[in-house]
């Protein structure tokens, strides 16, 4: 299955991309997506602890299961206002 991963702020700059598509095994969770990305992109490591995650525009936990076509966002600490 395929999911779209969205990146923002410092993370977007670090990765040099706002968005990419990712192939995953069916039943993968947010945590598994993250683990896969950490192997591929070690530069992500310093951000991991402070990340939050959104699935199709709602906050979710790392244990949430993904489905084909999902939009997953990796959200560094927010700071609006």
């Amino acid at each position: 299955m395929k999911v779209t991963v969205k990146l923002f702020a410092a993370l977007r700059e670090e990765m040099g991309s706002r968005e990419f598509e990712q192939d995953l095994a069916p039943g993968s969770t947010v945590q598994e997506l993250l683990d896969w990305m950490l192997e591929e992109y070690p530069a992500l490591r310093p951000y991991v602890r402070s990340l939050h995650f959104a699935l199709n525009h709602k906050y979710v936990t790392r244990q949430t299961e993904l489905h084909d076509g999902d939009e997953v966002a990796f959200l560094p600490p927010v700071g609006g206002g």
């Binding site: 923002f8 702020a9 525009h57 600490p77």
Partner: protein, 142 residues
């Protein structure tokens, strides 16, 4: 000009507090409180040249709407809530956010707007980068 009626919006255009207050229009309202965030020229003693705000707009408008729903759930006398946040390049003195609340009377609007700002900073997927001479930094309140 087209009349704006969105109560929760992420925009890359200039924000006006009058215009956001007008979105609350309701003949029964009596008190409106508007919190206006203005870009500061200095943080921690460092001179900021400008800010760059970034949002996840498809999610952020829903988050702002959720904050509005939480407020109306918690303070029954609050009638309307509008939150408009600007993104993109903002110069010193420009308005980054306007939070406007209306109620028949002024009791509770203070607590409610305080809550709105705290929640905005806590959950809205919006990021702020301070750019100063020779550097830049993404800031959060966490």
């Amino acid at each position: 000009m087209e009349k704006k009626t969105k109560l929760f919006e992420i925009t890359d255009q200039e924000i006006s507090s009058d215009e956001v207050v007008e979105r609350l229009a309701d003949p029964a309202i009596g008190a409106v409180i508007a919190f206006v965030g203005v870009v500061r020229g200095e943080t921690d003693g460092r001179e900021v040249r400008h800010l760059e705000y970034e949002a996840y707009p498809e999610m952020a408008e829903g988050t702002l709407c959720q904050i509005g729903a939480e407020i109306r759930e918690r303070w029954k006398t609050i009638q309307q809530v509008a939150i408009v946040h600007r993104v993109g390049h903002l110069d010193i003195g420009e308005i980054s956010v306007v939070i406007a609340l209306s109620a028949a009377h002024r009791l509770e609007v203070f607590d409610a707007v305080h809550y709105a700002i705290d929640r905005l900073k806590e959950i809205a997927p919006i990021w702020k980068k301070e750019v100063w001479t020779g550097g830049a930094e993404w800031r959060s309140e966490a």
